[in-house]
Amino acid sequence: MADRRYTKSHEWLTVEGKNVTVGITDFAQAQLGDVVFLELPAPGRKLSAGETFGVVESVKAASDLYSPIGGRITAVNEKLKEHPELINSDPYGDGWILKLELTGELPGDLLDEAAYKKVAEA
């Protein structure tokens, strides 16, 4: 998808107007290995860009999740509670994590696919 953007901390986001969907990248899920649990916030909470909003736990590691933008959480992927493995099998689709309503502007440091690829390969 051309309009997917990325962060250096391995989250992805898509933007439709004010509505932003967030997940973790294919590279991130591959590095983590089998995801077994996600600790996620409740809808309604406001996040600022770069704020920790949860934890993804795999058989190998537990890592913080960071919000790529400032906004209010409008939805949390409830399917992940029972099926955390969706993060591995479909990171850009059914494995989405949060939907947010953007507050203000998109941060300037988001990466496009080519730039993220360089980060992932570094």
């Binding site: 649990f37 600790e39 934890v55 736990e57 590691a61 537990a62």
Partner: protein
């Protein structure tokens, strides 16, 4: 040895220690044989005043109870007794299963979904429960309602201080309250409105933490029944001797959705590659090992041998046995309360409140009463004024199944 280390004398070896800090001579008496040592220790021990269990009427969190011989027979097996952190599933199925049984028994007793492998004692169990509530709700205040064991409160305050959590004794939680903590029955032995306190906490989005007496759960509603989120308590009464206050065992149980906040370790049941049932360490919060800056708890151990004693006790006594213990204790305490309250100048401190096997009674000259009883080899009640200003002259007396009918007579006669 010195030559192997490349130094020529002891002085050279100790060169890094300033001379002023070194011992010049150890003035120890000549060695004693084992026989002589035992004789000396026995003569020292004989100077202790030891109150017989049956003539001990002091509780306050630690109780004399009958301990079946089966408890020591199991806990003294070297496989349990001497093994240290044996958690490799391929080598330690017995230990892991024993812990799993403890968790199951505690979950059943408290009526909650899941219990951990044990805590140090009741005080740390309550404090850890409060930390769970703080992390879960993101709120910074703990409200302690009524008479929580004062030493538990002290430990709770110590845990809270470094995390910027405010601990407040009061009755009313508010929207900043992470949890309401209450003890059932309370430190004085009185029953509290656990269901009402729980509902009140929930109405403000706070968790309800019930500090409970495990024996009492055989005859009063367990926390799971009135909707408490976390139950914590002291397990000494389940097969452990008072022994100067420890080692004892704490327990903590919670609703399933709080399981990730549960401190310490949890043993789970699983199947091996051949499909056989087995037990493994599971769901130990990652935070405690690899994300310590985010941990809700830094407890990485438990009191396994004490928890094993508790498991043997509960299994051996069974539901009927525990109910019988609780009922006998209840009856003895009520019989005693009636007789003590009839003594001149004695009166129940809270006559409108109900109790199980411990009760507060107001007496003329508390310290004189305790001295008088001690002279007759009876350990009287606990003077709770030491912690609570409003309880001047109040002693709490406890009865268990070991205080036989004749012991009650002796106590009352000693006071007449």
């Amino acid at each position: 040895m010195l030559a192997a280390l490349g130094v020529s004398s002891m002085d050279d070896l100790l060169i890094d220690i300033p001379r002023s800090l070194r011992l010049s001579a150890l003035e120890l008496p000549a060695g004693l044989s084992e026989l002589e040592t035992m004789a000396q220790v026995k003569s020292l021990a004989a100077r202790n005043r030891v109150f017989a269990d049956r003539l001990t009427f002091r509780g306050g969190g630690v109780y004399r109870r009958f301990i079946p011989a089966a408890v020591a027979a199991v806990t003294s097996k070297p496989e349990f007794y001497s093994a240290y952190t044996p958690y490799q599933p391929e080598a330690s199925q017995g230990t892991l299963q024993a812990i799993y049984e403890f968790q199951t028994l505690i979950a059943e007793l408290t009526g909650l979904d899941v219990a951990n492998a044990s805590m140090y004692d009741g005080a740390t169990a309550v404090a850890e429960a409060a930390m769970m509530a703080h992390i879960h709700t993101g709120r910074n205040e703990i409200v302690v309602v009524g008479y929580l064991h004062p030493e538990y409160l002290e430990v709770l305050r110590a845990f809270s201080e470094g995390r910027g959590i405010k601990v407040r004794r009061g009755t009313e939680p508010n929207s900043k309250t992470a949890a309401v903590v209450f003890q059932q029955p309370d430190f004085l032995g009185l029953l509290v409105d656990a269901a009402g306190l729980t509902a009140n906490a929930h109405s403000l989005g706070a968790l309800a933490i019930a500090c409970v007496d495990p024996i009492s759960l055989a005859i009063v509603a367990p926390p799971g029944e009135y909707g408490a989120d976390i139950a914590a308590g002291e397990g000494q009464q389940l097969g452990l001797s008072p022994s100067y206050g420890g080692p004892h065992v704490g327990f903590i149980a919670c609703r399933k959705d709080l399981v990730r906040r549960l401190p310490g370790r949890l043993i789970g049941s699983a199947h091996d590659s051949a499909g056989r049932r087995g037990f493994v360490l599971t769901l130990t919060a990652r935070e405690q090992h690899i994300r310590r800056e985010r941990a809700s708890s830094n407890i990485c151990t438990n009191h396994s041998l004490c928890a094993l004693a508790a498991s043997v006790y509960m299994t051996y006594m069974g539901a009927d046995g525990m109910r019988q213990v609780a009922e006998v204790s209840f009856k003895r305490a009520h019989a005693l309360a009636e007789r003590l309250a009839a003594l001149p100048g004695w009166e129940m401190a809270f006559p409108e409140r109900q109790f199980l096997n411990e009760f507060p009674i107001r007496v003329p000259k508390a310290s004189a009463v305790l001295r008088k009883l001690a002279r007759k080899s009876i350990l009287g009640g606990l003077d709770v004024h030491r912690w609570f200003r409003e309880l001047k002259g109040v002693l709490t007396f406890a009865c268990t199944e070991v205080n036989d009918a004749r012991a009650l007579d002796e106590l009352v006669e000693a006071l007449a």
